[in-house]
């Protein structure tokens, strides 16, 4: 009999993998955010180490370049007491033609307990979760254009930290939404948490047409998209993912879509400006805004460590 259960949850509804925020019950998402709040206080202590993952091996499988996300996962795992192994994919057996599942099977034979996976193909972490041993857990660190669930969760945490109640907020996600797995995960997280108005703001070539079905309002005018927004999430132009000529130039993008102080003034007076990073100064965002009073871009990084600690400690404590 085919199971209709979300593959991320065990039979008790507990989280055993984190592949996507999509389909997670609100209680599970809120549990992650509540747990992250506890870990945030741990990161202020003298001794920033807990025994929760002591003796466990966390393998970072990054098939796509990343320093920032990989480093924060490594810090998070270290703070939980785990041993972290970073797999250098470019120099690994993948380059020699080994299949993804063979790589995973070999690493499991080395008693890996948790895989953190970033891959250019959407669905790769799901494939791994389907085929790994029952006591092994998978965290998706970004797959293709599909999902980046820990980013979606840390963005939700950031918003909760500064704004409290989700149910009264207007959130604008601005920029290259088409190629952004962050935007998709943000939308899933924020709709699950009850945000009443999410706006997808960007040029027609960079905003998918079917977002209305996800409960999102599409704006192709930046002023309209920013007006009265409580939260502005800026996205980076994903040059490495863009195939065809979707934009004339980065300069053209900045002229019509760059977040300047003047444009930010259209948003709510106490709005916060977020960005998953890395930022392209002078392309999607002005330095004055990135470094200004509304920006919470740097605190997001600290929240990211706490959220990743929360995700790993929750899933590692639950059995398949």
């Amino acid at each position: 009999m085919l199971s209709r259960r979300n593959p991320q949850l065990n039979a008790h509804g507990e989280l055993i993998h984190l592949l996507s925020v999509e389909g997670l019950p609100r209680a599970v998402v809120e549990h992650i955010l509540d747990t992250a709040a506890t870990f945030l206080s741990v990161n202020e202590r003298e001794v920033k180490k807990l025994p929760l993952l002591r003796g466990k091996s966390v393998f970072n499988l990054f098939f796509e370049n990343s320093t920032r996300t990989r480093t924060t996962f490594e810090i998070a795992a270290n703070r939980l007491g785990a041993d972290v192994i970073n797999l250098d994919i470019a120099r690994s057996s993948t380059a020699k033609g080994e299949s993804l599942l063979d790589t995973v099977a070999n690493l499991s034979a080395m008693h890996a307990d948790l895989f953190v996976v970033r891959h250019a193909d959407s669905g790769a972490p799901y494939l791994i979760a389907q085929h790994c041993a029952p006591q092994v857990h998978v965290v998706n660190a970004g797959d293709g254009r599909h999902a980046h669930p820990t980013q979606g969760l840390l963005d939700a945490y950031t918003i909760r930290h500064y704004k409290g109640d989700f149910t009264r907020l207007r959130v604008a996600i601005v920029g290259d939404i088409l190629h952004s797995r962050v935007a998709r995960s943000d939308i899933h997280a924020l709709t699950t948490l009850g945000v009443p108005e999410i706006r997808a703001v960007g040029p027609r070539t960079l905003v998918p047409g079917d977002l209305a079905a996800m409960g999102v309002r599409v704006c192709h005018d930046l002023a309209e998209g920013l007006r009265g927004a409580d939260v502005v999430i800026m996205l980076r132009l994903q040059n490495e993912r863009m195939g065809g000529a979707l934009l004339p130039s980065a300069g053209e993008f900045y002229k019509h879509w760059g977040l300047t102080e003047a444009r930010l003034a259209l948003a709510a007076p106490d709005c916060i400006v977020m960005h998953p990073g890395p930022i392209n100064r002078g392309v999607e965002i002005d330095s004055a805004v990135a470094d200004g009073a509304h920006s919470v871009i740097l605190p997001q990084v600290g929240f990211g460590i706490a959220v990743r600690m929360a995700v790993m400690s929750i899933i590692a404590g639950n059995e398949a």
């Binding site: 509540d34 202590r45 929760l52 400690s313 404590g317």
Partner: protein, 167 residues
């Protein structure tokens, strides 16, 4: 076995007297979340101690994490004093196996090195699995392992104890 009837308020009065004897001069109270924290809060006020009492959670150092996972929604540890060199009296409602106290002491050590740690509990129900003993206990009773004892705090601030089947 019939459940013993316990007058929580009467036991609190005993506990207050015991903590007054146990607490060194300049010592601080730290209540184990949640029942211990309620007790510590009232003790702190009744003893006229300065500042605020501490609250400590056992969740991050529990030894049953692999079996039970991480508990949801517990209050984080809050210690409004320097742990280094402090004389601490831990306060908890029920002492049973001693594992919670072990976890809480580990949690304390994440903040510094205390000068001393003592333990005051409302009820010691025996069944110890670790070598941990209270400096004072208002009551010593025996309960079968399938029963749990829990402290409740009324809106008025009054305490009551109830015996429940263990989950």
């Amino acid at each position: 076995m019939t459940a013993p009837s316990l007058d929580a308020e009467a036991l609190y009065a005993e506990l207050l007297a015991g903590v007054r004897r146990l607490l060194p001069s300049g010592g601080v109270l730290v209540g184990v979340w949640s029942g211990g924290a309620w007790l510590a809060e009232r003790l702190h006020a009744d003893l006229g101690l300065p500042g605020a009492c501490g609250v400590i959670s056992s969740s991050l150092h529990r030894d049953d994490y692999a079996r039970r996972g991480l508990a949801a929604g517990k209050a984080p540890t809050r210690l409004p004093f320097a742990v280094d060199g402090a004389h601490i009296v831990l306060v908890d409602d029920v002492l049973h196996t001693g594992r919670t106290v072990r976890a809480v002491i580990n949690e304390l050590y994440d903040f510094g090195r205390p000068a001393s740690v003592a333990l005051a509990v409302l009820v010691d129900r025996g069944g110890r699995e670790l070598p941990i003993e209270p400096g004072c206990a208002a009551a010593r009773i025996a309960l079968p392992p399938n029963q749990a004892l829990s402290l409740a705090r009324e809106p008025s601030g009054g305490f009551s104890l109830a015996v429940e089947p263990r989950r």
